[in-house]
Symmetry: C2
Subunit: 204 residues, 2 copies
DNA sequence: CCTACCGATCGGTAGG
DNA sequence: CCTACCGATCGGTAGG
């Protein structure tokens, strides 16, 4: 009688499909995740999978949205509890490296992979990837600007330069881990990020 | 009578196929370049294209080899004329940023794209990508070690850390140009690389 | 949510 | 180097 259960089931099915698409996509790229293999993985028919989204592109957008939510949860949220400025930047760096070290997505950072995969294409998926990365650069730049205004970073520092360099290091850590299987990538990244930010200030 | 002309033609055909594969692959990824579309682009049949290489994987390996040769020609060779150590590192940085700025491959750095695309896969192409990047890191690290030994960089600097950071910045420049269409990416990269290397030494 | 199917394209081969 | 073809798989739809 109650539609609750079926509505809940439908949402759970959709979530399971998206989770599988993100996991597979982080390993082999989002475009090469086919509806058919996805259907096998979640134990459904192709029509059942595609019916939830309407098109492969809509499924890709849902996967990207989910991966961004995961990144936000893993990297931004823990750091958002810290005071704005340099302390928060250091908290972001710690959470970011931890996220990379724990292989939250099985094939490494989904957003980095998507950025490489879509940067030569056109359309809504590429636009969403671009917007997601620009937003994150904006977050980093805002915290850097706060740190500069508060005298925690040099007055002549450039917030966008700092955001650029932190993003660069995170990409290289991801590549070192995924392609080079290099356990030294995270400590190297930490060292590089500390060189960008300077030492954390002891409060008081 | 002479086989010269046909042998030359055959080599030229192979070169044309590889060049097209590299160009297309830098834009949309090497795996998504199909034999059929490649055949259309070079005005041949599918069988003619695949016959030159035996398999798609062999074609991919040839494309990767060609892209590495281009990178070497564009970035290493001009710098190799400079004296080893810090001066050569600065020459590499200049050539590297110029290579990125001129979009030598239409979709940006082929090697960076291939590294992202193959880091979650297995097989000979992935191995070749990994080896190519490790070799380049080795070249950078060797120059850094020379600079340290010559007192041009701090005695406690880590050559592999320097190589890691330069590679990170180059990746971020590529992403900034290709995904963000950001003209500021190259100057930002130059500024970051100079921060890693310190100012160039005036000879004498 | 399923089965059954569509036309297109995939990598690759046979045969010349 | 070509035409013609192989079986497999692609994204997506019809109909229930």
């Amino acid at each position: 009688m109650s539609p609750r259960s079926s509505a809940h089931d439908a949402a759970a099915t959709r979530t399971a499909i998206v989770a599988e698409a993100v996991a597979l996509g982080s390993v082999e790229g989002l475009e090469s995740v086919s509806i058919g293999r996805l259907a096998d993985r979640v134990g459904m028919s192709k029509a059942g999978v595609i019916g939830r989204f309407g098109s492969k592109e809509a499924l890709q957008l849902a996967a990207l949205e989910s991966a961004i939510a995961t990144f936000t949860h893993e990297v931004w949220e823990p750091a958002a509890r810290t005071e704005p400025g340099l302390a928060r930047l250091h908290a972001i760096v710690d959470a970011w490296l931890s996220y990379l070290e724990r292989d939250v997505f099985p094939g490494g950072c989904f957003l980095t992979a998507a950025a490489c995969e879509w940067d030569g294409r056109a359309g809504p998926v590429r636009a969403a990837v671009e917007a997601g990365l620009a937003r994150w650069q904006g977050v980093l730049g805002r915290e850097a600007a706060t740190a500069i205004a508060g005298g925690e970073l040099p007055a002549d520092a450039d917030p966008r330069q700092i955001a650029f360099e932190l993003g660069a290091i995170a990409m290289a850590v991801n590549q070192g881990r995924q392609l080079g299987r290099d356990e030294a990538a995270v400590p190297r990244g930490r060292r590089a990020m500390r060189r960008v930010l300077g030492p954390p200030r002891t409060p008081g």
